[in-house]
Symmetry: C2
């Protein structure tokens, strides 16, 4: 069974931080990469290397997906945000993001580009076994 | 630290079945949805409703992502397949897929469309904390 989640429920499930997947409209095929994310207001922020796989251009139409799947219970949910990527350049905002939990990227190195995803559409699905 | 995985290592990590994410080149923004998948030779197969969110058109350029992330250890890997979607219509092949482990879709309902992703590019990344 699939049940749709309301936008507010989607944000509740996203929480304040976690692991999500950024999908970029590259050719050929969308590029999809896991990233550490944070929630800032009704936007999603993540950090990456300026030229890394998960780096979007300013203004790119991107998607961001988070799911939680229980393989044993055969239940789960997924949330999909479709929106626009923005490079975050304001030093005060960057400083605030760096103080958030989960902002430290695992891959290490100099990850000096913060990206904000400004949502256009937010949709979510609850998946339950029949 | 990011380390690239060779194609053969990518297939080893995909295993024979599991949960992955299909990314479709829809407008606006890529659509990304978790699906149960199986591996058939050097292709990925999954089942969906003919008109469901995860349904691709025959010949669509799609991506398929699988990752395994350990939030506590801050380690993980991800594999990305970029390829072409094919509708599987041969009854013998469909029967064979339905006998595979993990082929049962959780969402239930009549999921009568099997899709095969024929890879163009296969790439993988190993993520280790520094």
């Amino acid at each position: 069974m699939l049940a749709k989640l309301a936008a507010e429920e989607c944000w509740e499930r996203l929480g304040t931080h976690g692991i999500g997947r950024i999908a970029l409209p590259v050719h050929p095929g969308p590029g999809v990469f896991p990233v550490n994310y944070g929630v800032d207001g009704r936007t999603v922020v993540y950090r990456t290397a300026g030229r890394g796989a998960a780096a979007a251009e300013n203004g790119d139409e991107v998607s961001f997906e988070v799911d939680h799947i229980d393989e044993y219970q055969s239940t789960g949910w997924s949330v999909l945000i479709v929106g626009t990527a923005e490079h975050v350049t304001d030093p005060g905002t960057v400083r605030r993001f760096e103080e958030q939990p989960g902002s430290r990227p695992w891959a290490g190195g100099v990850l000096n580009l913060w990206l904000r995803i400004v949502p256009g559409q937010v949709s979510g699905r609850l998946i339950r076994d029949l």
